[in-house]
Protein backbone atom coordinates (compact mmCIF):
# COMPACT_ATOMS: atom_id res chain seq x y z
CA UNK A 1 0.00 0.00 0.00
CA UNK A 2 2.77 2.38 0.93
CA UNK A 3 4.54 1.37 -2.22
CA UNK A 4 1.46 2.16 -4.32
CA UNK A 5 1.08 5.52 -2.59
CA UNK A 6 4.71 6.33 -3.21
CA UNK A 7 4.32 5.28 -6.84
CA UNK A 8 1.20 7.42 -7.24
CA UNK A 9 3.00 10.37 -5.66
CA UNK A 10 5.99 9.87 -7.96
CA UNK A 11 3.76 9.69 -11.04
CA UNK A 12 1.89 12.78 -9.94
CA UNK A 13 5.12 14.64 -9.25
CA UNK A 14 6.55 13.66 -12.62
CA UNK A 15 3.46 14.88 -14.45
CA UNK A 16 3.66 18.34 -12.91
CA UNK A 17 5.74 20.56 -15.17
CA UNK A 18 8.84 21.48 -13.23
CA UNK A 19 11.17 24.34 -13.95
CA UNK A 20 13.96 22.53 -15.73
CA UNK A 21 17.39 24.01 -15.92
CA UNK A 22 18.93 25.18 -19.16
CA UNK A 23 22.07 27.23 -19.67
CA UNK A 24 20.48 28.89 -22.63
CA UNK A 25 17.33 28.83 -24.70
CA UNK A 26 17.33 29.16 -28.46
CA UNK A 27 14.21 29.80 -30.50
CA UNK A 28 13.82 27.84 -33.71
CA UNK A 29 10.88 28.63 -35.96
CA UNK A 30 9.64 26.28 -38.65
CA UNK A 31 8.17 28.12 -41.61
CA UNK A 32 7.11 26.96 -45.04
CA UNK A 33 10.48 28.11 -46.39
CA UNK A 34 12.50 26.22 -43.76
CA UNK A 35 14.05 26.63 -40.34
CA UNK A 36 14.56 30.14 -39.01
CA UNK A 37 17.42 30.54 -38.25
CA UNK A 38 18.90 27.77 -40.38
CA UNK A 39 22.12 27.81 -38.37
CA UNK A 40 21.98 27.90 -34.58
CA UNK A 41 25.19 28.56 -32.72
CA UNK A 42 25.68 27.30 -29.13
CA UNK A 43 28.69 26.80 -26.85
CA UNK A 44 30.10 23.30 -26.26
CA UNK A 45 28.96 21.29 -23.22
CA UNK A 46 26.06 23.65 -22.55
CA UNK A 47 22.60 22.44 -21.64
CA UNK A 48 20.48 23.92 -24.41
CA UNK A 49 16.71 24.24 -24.59
CA UNK A 50 15.68 24.38 -28.24
CA UNK A 51 12.19 25.84 -28.53
CA UNK A 52 10.78 24.60 -31.80
CA UNK A 53 7.78 26.62 -32.95
CA UNK A 54 5.70 25.28 -35.80
CA UNK A 55 4.52 28.30 -37.81
CA UNK A 56 3.19 26.20 -40.69
CA UNK A 57 -0.41 25.00 -41.03
CA UNK A 58 0.48 21.28 -40.72
CA UNK A 59 2.35 19.05 -38.27
CA UNK A 60 6.15 18.89 -38.51
CA UNK A 61 8.70 16.57 -36.93
CA UNK A 62 11.91 18.11 -35.67
CA UNK A 63 14.38 15.29 -36.15
CA UNK A 64 18.11 14.86 -35.92
CA UNK A 65 20.13 11.66 -36.19
CA UNK A 66 23.20 13.68 -35.16
CA UNK A 67 21.49 14.79 -31.94
CA UNK A 68 19.46 11.58 -31.40
CA UNK A 69 16.26 13.61 -31.08
CA UNK A 70 12.83 13.53 -32.69
CA UNK A 71 9.75 15.48 -31.76
CA UNK A 72 6.44 16.03 -33.50
CA UNK A 73 5.17 19.62 -33.23
CA UNK A 74 1.57 20.46 -34.03
CA UNK A 75 0.70 23.59 -36.03
CA UNK A 76 0.98 26.73 -33.90
CA UNK A 77 2.60 24.91 -30.99
CA UNK A 78 6.02 25.26 -29.39
CA UNK A 79 7.88 22.22 -28.06
CA UNK A 80 11.09 22.33 -26.05
CA UNK A 81 13.81 19.83 -26.96
CA UNK A 82 16.79 19.60 -24.63
CA UNK A 83 20.32 18.72 -25.68
CA UNK A 84 23.38 18.81 -23.45
CA UNK A 85 27.06 17.98 -23.21
CA UNK A 86 27.70 18.25 -26.94
CA UNK A 87 31.23 18.24 -28.29
CA UNK A 88 32.17 20.95 -30.80
CA UNK A 89 30.98 20.20 -34.30
CA UNK A 90 28.14 20.51 -36.79
CA UNK A 91 24.91 18.71 -35.95
CA UNK A 92 22.36 18.50 -38.76
CA UNK A 93 18.64 18.56 -38.08
CA UNK A 94 15.64 18.42 -40.40
CA UNK A 95 11.87 18.28 -40.59
CA UNK A 96 11.17 14.57 -41.08
CA UNK A 97 7.78 15.31 -42.62
CA UNK A 98 9.20 17.85 -45.10
CA UNK A 99 12.79 16.87 -45.64
CA UNK A 100 13.73 19.86 -47.77
CA UNK A 101 13.71 21.86 -44.50
CA UNK A 102 17.15 21.45 -43.01
CA UNK A 103 19.30 23.22 -40.48
CA UNK A 104 22.48 22.97 -38.44
CA UNK A 105 23.31 23.25 -34.78
CA UNK A 106 26.82 24.67 -34.68
CA UNK A 107 28.51 23.74 -31.40
CA UNK A 108 31.69 25.67 -30.65
Amino acid sequence: MRFQLALAAALLASSVPVARAADLTVALAVRDGGFEPAVVQVPASARVRIEVTNQTPVAIEFESFDLNRERVVQPGQTAAVYVSGLKPGRYQFFDDFHQQRRGTLLVE
Binding site: S14, V58, E61, L67, V72, P75, T78, V83, H98
Partner: protein, 284 residues
Amino acid sequence: MIETLLITWRESLEAALIVGILLTYLGRSGERRGVPYVWGGAGAAVLAALVCAAASNGLVAALDPDVQELAQAGILFLAVAVLTWMVVWMHRNARALRGELHARADRALAAGRLLGLATIAFAAVFREGVETVLFLWGVVLQGAHDGVLALLGAGLAGTALAVATAWVFFRGFRFLKLQTFFRVTGVLLLLVAGGLLTAAVNKLIALDYLPALVSQVWNTSWLVPDDGIVGGVLRAFVGYRARPSLLEVLVFFAYVPTMFWLLHRAGRSVGPAGRDPTLKARAA
Protein backbone atom coordinates in the same frame (compact mmCIF):
# COMPACT_ATOMS: atom_id res chain seq x y z
CA MET B 1 7.47 10.56 -53.86
CA ILE B 2 10.13 7.96 -52.96
CA GLU B 3 10.84 10.10 -49.90
CA THR B 4 7.19 9.90 -48.81
CA LEU B 5 7.27 6.13 -49.30
CA LEU B 6 10.48 5.76 -47.28
CA ILE B 7 9.12 7.87 -44.42
CA THR B 8 5.98 5.77 -43.96
CA TRP B 9 7.99 2.55 -44.47
CA ARG B 10 10.26 3.56 -41.62
CA GLU B 11 7.38 4.71 -39.41
CA SER B 12 5.33 1.54 -39.94
CA LEU B 13 8.09 -1.07 -39.85
CA GLU B 14 8.31 -1.41 -36.09
CA ALA B 15 4.57 -1.89 -35.69
CA ALA B 16 4.48 -4.39 -38.58
CA LEU B 17 7.32 -6.43 -37.08
CA ILE B 18 5.80 -6.55 -33.59
CA VAL B 19 2.35 -7.51 -34.89
CA GLY B 20 4.11 -10.03 -37.17
CA ILE B 21 5.91 -11.70 -34.27
CA LEU B 22 2.66 -12.00 -32.31
CA LEU B 23 0.69 -13.48 -35.23
CA THR B 24 3.49 -15.89 -36.17
CA TYR B 25 3.76 -16.99 -32.57
CA LEU B 26 0.03 -17.60 -32.25
CA GLY B 27 0.00 -19.51 -35.54
CA ARG B 28 2.88 -21.78 -34.62
CA SER B 29 1.67 -22.54 -31.12
CA GLY B 30 -1.84 -23.34 -32.37
CA GLU B 31 -3.47 -20.61 -30.31
CA ARG B 32 -5.68 -19.12 -32.96
CA ARG B 33 -7.94 -17.63 -30.32
CA GLY B 34 -5.44 -14.81 -29.75
CA VAL B 35 -5.36 -13.73 -33.42
CA PRO B 36 -8.52 -11.55 -33.37
CA TYR B 37 -7.22 -9.82 -30.25
CA VAL B 38 -3.98 -8.85 -32.00
CA TRP B 39 -5.90 -7.52 -35.01
CA GLY B 40 -8.40 -5.87 -32.67
CA GLY B 41 -5.62 -4.07 -30.78
CA ALA B 42 -3.96 -2.99 -34.05
CA GLY B 43 -7.28 -1.81 -35.52
CA ALA B 44 -8.19 0.12 -32.38
CA ALA B 45 -4.78 1.82 -32.55
CA VAL B 46 -5.35 2.93 -36.16
CA LEU B 47 -8.71 4.39 -35.12
CA ALA B 48 -7.18 6.04 -32.05
CA ALA B 49 -4.38 7.53 -34.18
CA LEU B 50 -6.95 8.91 -36.64
CA VAL B 51 -8.98 10.40 -33.78
CA CYS B 52 -5.87 11.93 -32.16
CA ALA B 53 -4.76 13.45 -35.45
CA ALA B 54 -8.25 14.79 -36.14
CA ALA B 55 -8.45 16.24 -32.63
CA SER B 56 -4.94 17.68 -32.85
CA ASN B 57 -6.28 21.15 -33.50
CA GLY B 58 -8.79 21.01 -30.67
CA LEU B 59 -8.56 18.86 -27.59
CA VAL B 60 -5.03 17.54 -28.02
CA ALA B 61 -3.68 20.99 -28.90
CA ALA B 62 -5.10 22.29 -25.63
CA LEU B 63 -2.72 19.95 -23.80
CA ASP B 64 0.79 21.07 -23.02
CA PRO B 65 3.08 19.62 -25.75
CA ASP B 66 5.23 18.07 -23.01
CA VAL B 67 2.20 16.25 -21.62
CA GLN B 68 1.58 14.70 -25.05
CA GLU B 69 5.19 13.54 -25.11
CA LEU B 70 4.97 12.18 -21.54
CA ALA B 71 1.83 10.26 -22.53
CA GLN B 72 3.80 8.72 -25.43
CA ALA B 73 6.56 7.72 -23.01
CA GLY B 74 3.91 6.26 -20.68
CA ILE B 75 2.48 4.13 -23.52
CA LEU B 76 5.99 2.86 -24.24
CA PHE B 77 6.58 1.91 -20.59
CA LEU B 78 3.21 0.13 -20.54
CA ALA B 79 4.16 -1.77 -23.71
CA VAL B 80 7.48 -2.84 -22.15
CA ALA B 81 5.72 -4.07 -18.99
CA VAL B 82 3.12 -6.08 -20.91
CA LEU B 83 5.73 -7.45 -23.35
CA THR B 84 7.90 -8.61 -20.46
CA TRP B 85 4.93 -10.33 -18.87
CA MET B 86 3.97 -11.99 -22.20
CA VAL B 87 7.51 -13.25 -22.83
CA VAL B 88 7.64 -14.82 -19.36
CA TRP B 89 4.29 -16.47 -20.05
CA MET B 90 5.32 -17.62 -23.54
CA HIS B 91 8.45 -19.12 -22.03
CA ARG B 92 6.38 -21.16 -19.59
CA ASN B 93 3.89 -22.00 -22.30
CA ALA B 94 6.65 -23.30 -24.58
CA ARG B 95 7.43 -25.84 -21.89
CA ALA B 96 3.77 -26.78 -21.57
CA LEU B 97 3.60 -27.25 -25.33
CA ARG B 98 6.44 -29.73 -25.30
CA GLY B 99 5.39 -33.16 -24.13
CA GLU B 100 1.93 -32.05 -23.04
CA LEU B 101 -1.34 -31.56 -24.77
CA HIS B 102 -1.95 -28.49 -26.91
CA ALA B 103 -5.34 -28.16 -25.26
CA ARG B 104 -3.62 -27.23 -22.05
CA ALA B 105 -1.82 -24.37 -23.71
CA ASP B 106 -5.10 -23.22 -25.21
CA ARG B 107 -6.59 -22.99 -21.75
CA ALA B 108 -3.52 -21.07 -20.61
CA LEU B 109 -4.42 -18.29 -23.02
CA ALA B 110 -6.76 -16.76 -20.48
CA ALA B 111 -8.63 -13.48 -20.73
CA GLY B 112 -5.82 -11.44 -19.20
CA ARG B 113 -3.32 -12.68 -21.74
CA LEU B 114 -5.67 -12.04 -24.63
CA LEU B 115 -5.94 -8.46 -23.40
CA GLY B 116 -2.16 -8.42 -23.09
CA LEU B 117 -1.82 -9.37 -26.76
CA ALA B 118 -4.29 -6.64 -27.71
CA THR B 119 -2.40 -4.10 -25.56
CA ILE B 120 0.96 -4.83 -27.20
CA ALA B 121 -0.53 -4.62 -30.69
CA PHE B 122 -2.28 -1.39 -29.73
CA ALA B 123 0.84 0.25 -28.26
CA ALA B 124 3.03 -0.81 -31.20
CA VAL B 125 0.63 0.50 -33.85
CA PHE B 126 -0.51 3.61 -31.98
CA ARG B 127 3.02 4.85 -31.30
CA GLU B 128 4.01 5.15 -34.95
CA GLY B 129 0.41 5.41 -36.14
CA VAL B 130 -0.08 8.93 -34.81
CA GLU B 131 3.06 10.11 -36.61
CA THR B 132 2.10 8.40 -39.85
CA VAL B 133 -1.42 9.86 -39.78
CA LEU B 134 -0.14 13.37 -38.97
CA PHE B 135 2.42 13.10 -41.74
CA LEU B 136 -0.09 11.88 -44.33
CA TRP B 137 -2.64 14.48 -43.18
CA GLY B 138 0.00 17.14 -43.78
CA VAL B 139 0.62 15.67 -47.24
CA VAL B 140 -3.10 15.98 -48.00
CA LEU B 141 -3.27 19.58 -46.77
CA GLN B 142 -0.12 20.78 -48.47
CA GLY B 143 0.39 18.60 -51.49
CA ALA B 144 -2.01 20.51 -53.76
CA HIS B 145 0.64 21.32 -56.32
CA ASP B 146 2.39 17.94 -56.18
CA GLY B 147 -0.67 15.79 -56.73
CA VAL B 148 -2.19 14.81 -53.43
CA LEU B 149 -3.37 11.40 -54.58
CA ALA B 150 0.05 10.35 -55.88
CA LEU B 151 1.74 11.40 -52.63
CA LEU B 152 -0.93 9.81 -50.48
CA GLY B 153 -0.59 6.65 -52.57
CA ALA B 154 3.17 6.67 -52.03
CA GLY B 155 2.61 7.07 -48.29
CA LEU B 156 0.18 4.18 -48.10
CA ALA B 157 2.50 2.09 -50.31
CA GLY B 158 5.26 2.67 -47.73
CA THR B 159 3.03 1.24 -45.01
CA ALA B 160 2.11 -1.71 -47.24
CA LEU B 161 5.81 -2.24 -47.95
CA ALA B 162 6.51 -2.35 -44.20
CA VAL B 163 3.84 -5.04 -43.78
CA ALA B 164 5.36 -6.94 -46.71
CA THR B 165 8.84 -6.65 -45.17
CA ALA B 166 7.55 -8.15 -41.93
CA TRP B 167 5.68 -10.87 -43.82
CA VAL B 168 8.77 -11.93 -45.81
CA PHE B 169 10.80 -11.88 -42.61
CA PHE B 170 8.41 -14.18 -40.76
CA ARG B 171 7.93 -16.52 -43.76
CA GLY B 172 11.50 -17.59 -43.03
CA PHE B 173 10.44 -18.56 -39.53
CA ARG B 174 8.24 -21.38 -40.87
CA PHE B 175 11.33 -23.45 -41.49
CA LEU B 176 12.53 -23.24 -37.90
CA LYS B 177 11.89 -26.19 -35.63
CA LEU B 178 9.17 -25.43 -33.08
CA GLN B 179 11.61 -25.35 -30.18
CA THR B 180 14.02 -23.05 -32.00
CA PHE B 181 11.10 -20.90 -33.10
CA PHE B 182 9.92 -20.31 -29.53
CA ARG B 183 13.43 -19.43 -28.47
CA VAL B 184 13.94 -16.99 -31.36
CA THR B 185 10.53 -15.37 -30.76
CA GLY B 186 11.30 -14.87 -27.08
CA VAL B 187 14.70 -13.34 -27.84
CA LEU B 188 13.22 -11.01 -30.50
CA LEU B 189 10.42 -9.81 -28.22
CA LEU B 190 12.86 -9.09 -25.40
CA LEU B 191 15.07 -7.12 -27.79
CA VAL B 192 11.99 -5.20 -29.02
CA ALA B 193 11.03 -4.47 -25.40
CA GLY B 194 14.57 -3.26 -24.72
CA GLY B 195 14.32 -0.96 -27.75
CA LEU B 196 10.96 0.45 -26.64
CA LEU B 197 12.38 1.03 -23.16
CA THR B 198 15.31 3.02 -24.54
CA ALA B 199 12.92 4.98 -26.79
CA ALA B 200 10.90 5.97 -23.71
CA VAL B 201 14.08 6.95 -21.87
CA ASN B 202 15.19 8.98 -24.90
CA LYS B 203 11.92 10.95 -24.75
CA LEU B 204 12.42 11.69 -21.04
CA ILE B 205 15.99 12.83 -21.72
CA ALA B 206 14.82 15.15 -24.51
CA LEU B 207 12.26 16.57 -22.04
CA ASP B 208 15.05 17.01 -19.48
CA TYR B 209 13.33 14.71 -16.96
CA LEU B 210 16.31 12.34 -17.04
CA PRO B 211 20.03 13.10 -17.47
CA ALA B 212 21.77 11.75 -20.58
CA LEU B 213 24.89 11.14 -18.39
CA VAL B 214 27.07 11.22 -21.52
CA SER B 215 25.27 12.73 -24.46
CA GLN B 216 26.87 10.53 -27.15
CA VAL B 217 28.78 7.46 -25.99
CA TRP B 218 29.75 6.32 -29.47
CA ASN B 219 28.97 7.04 -33.10
CA THR B 220 28.40 4.09 -35.43
CA SER B 221 26.79 6.17 -38.20
CA TRP B 222 29.77 5.42 -40.51
CA LEU B 223 28.91 1.69 -40.21
CA VAL B 224 25.11 1.60 -39.87
CA PRO B 225 23.53 5.01 -40.55
CA ASP B 226 20.16 5.65 -38.85
CA ASP B 227 18.42 6.43 -42.14
CA GLY B 228 19.57 3.33 -44.05
CA ILE B 229 17.56 0.13 -44.52
CA VAL B 230 19.70 -1.87 -42.07
CA GLY B 231 19.51 1.01 -39.58
CA GLY B 232 15.73 1.12 -40.00
CA VAL B 233 15.31 -2.61 -39.36
CA LEU B 234 17.67 -2.53 -36.37
CA ARG B 235 15.85 0.52 -35.05
CA ALA B 236 12.56 -1.38 -35.19
CA PHE B 237 13.98 -4.47 -33.48
CA VAL B 238 16.40 -3.19 -30.86
CA GLY B 239 15.80 0.58 -30.86
CA TYR B 240 19.10 1.12 -32.69
CA ARG B 241 20.53 4.63 -32.61
CA ALA B 242 23.91 5.41 -34.13
CA ARG B 243 24.69 7.94 -31.38
CA PRO B 244 23.06 6.77 -28.13
CA SER B 245 23.45 8.49 -24.80
CA LEU B 246 25.04 6.64 -21.88
CA LEU B 247 21.74 6.36 -20.00
CA GLU B 248 20.03 4.70 -23.00
CA VAL B 249 22.91 2.19 -23.32
CA LEU B 250 22.82 1.44 -19.58
CA VAL B 251 19.05 0.93 -19.54
CA PHE B 252 19.16 -1.42 -22.56
CA PHE B 253 22.00 -3.50 -21.15
CA ALA B 254 20.42 -3.59 -17.70
CA TYR B 255 17.07 -4.83 -19.05
CA VAL B 256 17.92 -7.30 -21.84
CA PRO B 257 20.66 -9.45 -20.23
CA THR B 258 18.78 -9.48 -16.90
CA MET B 259 15.68 -10.83 -18.63
CA PHE B 260 17.70 -13.46 -20.53
CA TRP B 261 19.31 -14.56 -17.31
CA LEU B 262 15.99 -14.76 -15.42
CA LEU B 263 14.36 -16.79 -18.20
CA HIS B 264 17.39 -19.04 -18.52
CA ARG B 265 17.30 -19.70 -14.79
CA ALA B 266 13.56 -20.38 -14.88
CA GLY B 267 14.13 -22.79 -17.78
CA ARG B 268 16.69 -24.81 -15.87
CA SER B 269 14.50 -25.35 -12.84
CA VAL B 270 11.83 -27.11 -14.90
CA GLY B 271 12.70 -30.65 -14.00
CA PRO B 272 12.11 -33.62 -16.28
CA ALA B 273 9.39 -31.92 -18.35
CA GLY B 274 11.96 -29.51 -19.76
CA ARG B 275 14.04 -32.42 -21.02
CA ASP B 276 11.21 -34.44 -22.42
CA PRO B 277 12.63 -37.16 -24.66
CA THR B 278 9.68 -36.85 -27.03
CA LEU B 279 10.48 -33.18 -27.53
CA LYS B 280 12.65 -33.52 -30.62
CA ALA B 281 10.17 -35.84 -32.28
CA ARG B 282 7.29 -33.42 -31.68
CA ALA B 283 9.19 -30.40 -32.75
CA ALA B 284 10.33 -31.99 -36.01
